[in-house]
Symmetry: C2
DNA sequence: CGCCTGTTTGACTCGCGTCAATGAAAGTGG
DNA sequence: CCACTTTCATTGACGCGAGTCAAACAGGCG
């Protein structure tokens, strides 16, 4: 396997090495194959195209590209963004290992957004036609896929609420907690995070400026809630973060 | 059919009368049955439960309710909202005739939001298990349903971008244009609209206060772009509204 | 070493939220 | 049918949080 798959600084990219088959991937519990029998997993294995390494800043697909596949992130991280009329990009999500990208392309057979690697990433390509065909005889897979899409809708709506009504501090808190949860889901630390994205990306995603993001992180650190060291963040008091949202 | 189905002031509720079967419904072009053969439509007909009238302010489902069905709006209008920790509600969408509600419930078999009628509405209930079963042998239906969900994701992301970055005026413009498009899709006027929701609902949805919504509408009227009369709105210069978003 | 990108910090500005009051419309009960 | 209440909408005065502008700093890389 190509060594480029594994950025030297990333701590959680071991999946890239071992996962030649879904059944062996340590992300299988949170990715597509969830709840499949082993026979079924083999069939899914057969249609998935692996080993597509993506360098930092390389595009997985671009807005307007014909839609042919959805993609599972095996290692690394992606951001997904829309380019609006003015040419500015709006980030609508970050995708971490075990998560599925590209579901918004089904609507009209073209990708409605662009996906780009935040760091060197390993991706599983899942051709959609084949997947759809497979669901003919695999109701569980079909159901799981629908659930993934439904989850995406729920998540996006959470974000809508967040952006519509919450302060800068609350938005940052939600992002940190989200990254924490997703880290825990991969059996990694829930309190020590490495942010794969820049402050600019965070601001873009949360509808804030770089300056506000920076100031907010500084303030949270001054209040003893987090410790920030460049892109490393430690959540010293996750409860305090949660409490900010209860109000 | 019960006369309560038809609010006297609504101008576009004739579908409620004629649509006893999907094939006869004048919304069939934009609802689920799109792209189905007539045999298939009959089968879909068989699982759909109709004639569920919903009074203003009555709930179609509530957050946390077990998820059993998705719903097509046949007449009237719904709003969908989340209740956040503090007990405040955040509206995440308005649903007009021909649109499908409840897709976010698939993820974990409970509704992740609440849906309530803005005015007396007619609803088609589509039991999800039966629908899913039907898609076994109807790939077109399956595809169309996936497209509906995918569209929902795309739309929500548009909204995310909007709330994250745009001014009050731009948000209002987007909403007006969206309502205009959806009105045109139902072969109604694209320039004369009747808002089914209150100013408060609009503000809640767009992340603005009632006052800001009111002031913004007033200003748009003063600039000759729209004419507002209570809940009736005429778009005098739709191009001007579009132009606001290009920048 | 010097360039470039990303991050932090400070001073100033402004759009929108908040508070408050008034008016219009719709629903309610006698 | 009319008084009363309640809800919704509009308008004004004021303050704050986050955007803007600007400058300095750190780190990575050729």
């Amino acid at each position: 396997m190509d060594a480029r798959f594994i950025p030297s600084k990333a701590s959680d990219n071991s999946a890239a090495c071992s996962a030649v088959r879904c059944g062996d991937c340590r992300l299988s519990g949170i990715c597509l194959p969830l709840a499949l029998e082993s026979d079924d997993i083999d069939q899914l294995d057969n249609i998935i195209q692996r080993g597509r390494p993506l360098q930092r800043n390389a595009h997985l697909y671009r807005e307007g590209d014909p839609f042919t596949s959805v993609y599972a992130v095996r290692a690394g991280a992606l951001k997904v963004y829309h380019s609006s009329d003015g040419g500015r990009e709006h980030i609508t999500g970050f995708y971490l290992p075990g998560e599925i990208v590209g579901l918004d392309g089904i609507a009209d057979n073209r990708h409605g957004s662009s996906a780009v690697a935040l760091e060197t990433s390993a991706i599983c390509e899942i051709p959609f036609e084949a997947l759809d065909k497979l669901t003919d005889r695999m109701p569980k897979l079909r159901r799981h896929f629908l659930q993934l899409m439904s989850r995406e809708i729920s998540d996006d709506r959470q974000l809508v609420s967040l952006l519509g009504r919450n302060s800068a501090t609350e938005r940052i808190a939600v992002l940190l907690l989200s990254l924490s949860n997703r880290s825990a889901r991969r059996h990694l630390s829930a309190t020590r995070l490495r942010l794969p994205m820049s402050r600019g990306d965070i601001g873009n995603y949360l509808g804030l400026t770089v300056e506000t993001v920076s100031r907010t992180l500084t303030r949270l650190q001054r209040d003893g809630i987090i410790v920030v060291d460049n892109r490393e963040v430690e959540l010293c008091d996750p409860q305090a973060l949660s409490d900010m949202l209860a109000a």
